[in-house]
């Protein structure tokens, strides 16, 4: 690469960095990929922005309230509950921005109509205790008991040790369990259980065209980490 080209590239990078200089982007999206790996990938896409990827809902909410970042990337339902961020982009997979939720159980099918107040269901915590209870209730006629965990892989011990009769996950996440474990998994789709995958929220009454452009241009690898293949 010629010296002149390198200088031009450097100037472009600096200018790009300057555009993001004041921007903080906070991310909370439970996935099997570690937050530091997602963070590295996003940092490459949004040069100059300060990006923090959180592993836990509590940390994400506490820091977002404290720092009021310019943008947040999280599950659509989390953004909807936050209030002070407007959804500007939705992550989509195979053209759709929603995903189907399923119950994963071992050896026996867990019939959604047979769920009682004593049935224990495991789930990733992405809304906090009270809101998660409300979220899970929306799928069933009777609210089951809920066991919340921090990471997707933490749901596997719930099934291994019979601590829950099933786990509630997105259909996309089933492959992780089938690849990792030899348990005899049974997948039961839930009717009317389409939930938004991931969204980008920009702080109310502000604009951040650079962030929008950067997220729309994320590479395939980073998009896959967020469970999508495009943003719209």
């Amino acid at each position: 690469m010629g010296k002149r080209v390198r200088i031009i590239m450097h100037i472009i990078c600096c200018a790009w960095g300057f555009l993001f200089a004041a921007d903080k982007i906070y991310v909370f999206y439970p996935t099997t990929v570690r937050p530091q790996v997602v963070q590295q990938n996003l940092l490459k896409a949004c040069l100059g922005a300060e990006i923090i990827v959180f592993a836990r809902y509590n940390d994400f909410i506490a820091k977002t309230v404290l720092d009021s970042p310019a943008a947040v990337i999280t599950k659509t339902i989390v953004l909807e509950q936050m209030g002070n961020y407007a959804i500007k982009l939705n992550g989509a997979f195979k053209g759709t921005t929603d995903e189907q939720y399923v119950i994963l159980s071992v050896n026996e099918k867990l019939d959604p109509t047979m769920i009682t107040a004593e049935t224990m269901i495991g789930m990733i915590d992405f809304l906090g205790r009270k809101e998660m209870a409300a979220f899970i209730s929306s799928f069933f006629t009777i609210s089951p008991k809920l066991k919340r965990v921090t990471k997707i892989e933490d749901l596997l011990p719930l099934l291994t040790f019979n601590m829950s009769q099933g786990i509630l996950i997105s259909e996309r996440e089933v492959s992780y369990f089938k690849q990792t474990s030899n348990l005899n998994f049974i997948v039961t789709a839930l009717a009317k259980s389409k939930v938004g995958i991931v969204a980008l929220g920009i702080k109310n009454n502000t604009t951040s065209p650079e962030i929008l452009k950067a997220i729309k241009g994320l590479d395939n690898e980073t998009n896959a980490m967020l469970g999508v293949d495009q943003w719209k």
């Binding site: 892989e153 596997l156 291994t160 601590m163 474990s181």
Partner: protein, 333 residues
């Protein structure tokens, strides 16, 4: 006239200030009355702090948390004074010392006394510690062998059908229970038991490892967190030598043992302390919903783990794929 108005306005300001102060104090009082008092008994240290963080974040909206940090010499009267001052609805006990202290306090109570429910964690083989405690449950500190095995299998991408374990007799029960869960994952545990007491374990460990590798053809070794079997001498003369020669993956439960300079552990699986605190918080809520009755609630395994990999060994010996490292918490180079 103007003076009188100014004085009147001053009085009004003072009254408003007093009302605001009283309102503030009342709000604080109402809030603390509405919350349930909870006592944590623990020693000081980073791991304990993380567990308390995980618990506090979950419980602080509904509980007033009193953190009682004990020292080696803390005795029952100091605990009794705390219990009298806090009047806790529930107590969370972190590690063996806190559990023993609380057990002593419970043993001194009259038969008719109300028993404060407890959730215990971070103790060694906690189910045994809780056997003779009333209204008590907890979470194991030991990572289940199946959890470690499944995680390592997924990361290294190797076949693991038989896991060999050299252990002392006191762990037989834990290993026996683990076998059932490992079978579900098509992993067979092959134990090699050593006596609980002995003068020199070096030749015994060596013999055990040799048998597991040559006779039983194990695919991996799981090393228990047992200080008697893991001394600087046994690590140098037996464990590390075995890891180098056998070329099979070694699962450990202590971070330092995956240090590449030791060339011993391939994969370390440790408790995730913040998540352990959250799991304990969930138990506290369950017990509260059950009118402060533990009611035979079983001791739970820890759900969340922290994974560390010895990269040079994983790359050179097991050809681990880069994409598999994405769900490892720490990569030691």
């Amino acid at each position: 006239m103007e003076m009188r108005m100014r004085r009147h306005s001053m009085n009004l300001k003072q009254i408003v200030h007093w009302y605001l102060l009283v309102f503030l104090l009342m709000s604080i009082a109402v809030e603390s009355f509405a919350k349930e008092p909870m006592l944590i008994v623990r020693r000081s240290g980073k791991d304990f702090d993380e567990v308390v963080k995980g618990m506090t974040e979950e419980l602080s909206t509904d509980f007033t948390i009193h953190d009682f940090i004990i020292a080696k010499e803390t005795e029952v009267p100091a605990l009794v004074a705390q219990i009298k001052a806090v009047n806790p609805k529930i107590a969370v006990l972190l590690d063996n010392q806190s559990i023993s202290l609380f057990k002593k306090y419970q043993n001194e109570l009259p038969e008719t006394a109300k028993i404060i429910p407890t959730v215990s964690l971070m103790g060694i083989l906690i189910d045994r510690l809780l056997k003779d405690m009333k209204n008590a449950t907890g979470i194991f500190y030991e990572i289940p062998i199946v959890t470690s095995g499944v995680n390592m299998r997924a990361v290294l991408g190797v076949r693991i059908k038989k896991v060999g374990i050299v252990h002392r007799k006191f762990m037989s029960d834990f290993i026996g229970k683990s076998s059932t869960y490992c079978e579900k994952e098509n992993i067979k545990i092959v134990p090699y038991e050593l006596p609980d007491k002995g003068d020199d374990y070096t030749p015994l460990i060596k013999k055990g490892l040799k048998q597991l590798l040559k006779k039983d053809s194990v695919d991996a070794i799981w090393v228990p967190n047992d200080n008697t079997l893991l001394t600087p001498v046994t690590i140098r003369d037996v464990w590390s030598q075995f890891a180098k020669e056998s070329k099979i993956p070694v699962i450990v439960g202590v971070e330092i043992l995956v240090n590449p300079t030791l060339d011993f552990g391939t994969f370390a699986v440790l408790p995730d302390h913040i998540a352990l605190g959250s799991q304990a918080a969930d138990m506290v809520y369950d017990i509260m919903d059950n009118d402060w009755d533990v009611a035979g609630r079983p001791v739970e395994p820890p759900l969340s783990v922290y994974k560390i990999i010895n990269l040079p060994q994983a790359k050179n010996v097991f050809r681990v794929k880069d994409e598999n490292l994405r769900n490892v918490d720490r990569i030691v180079k």
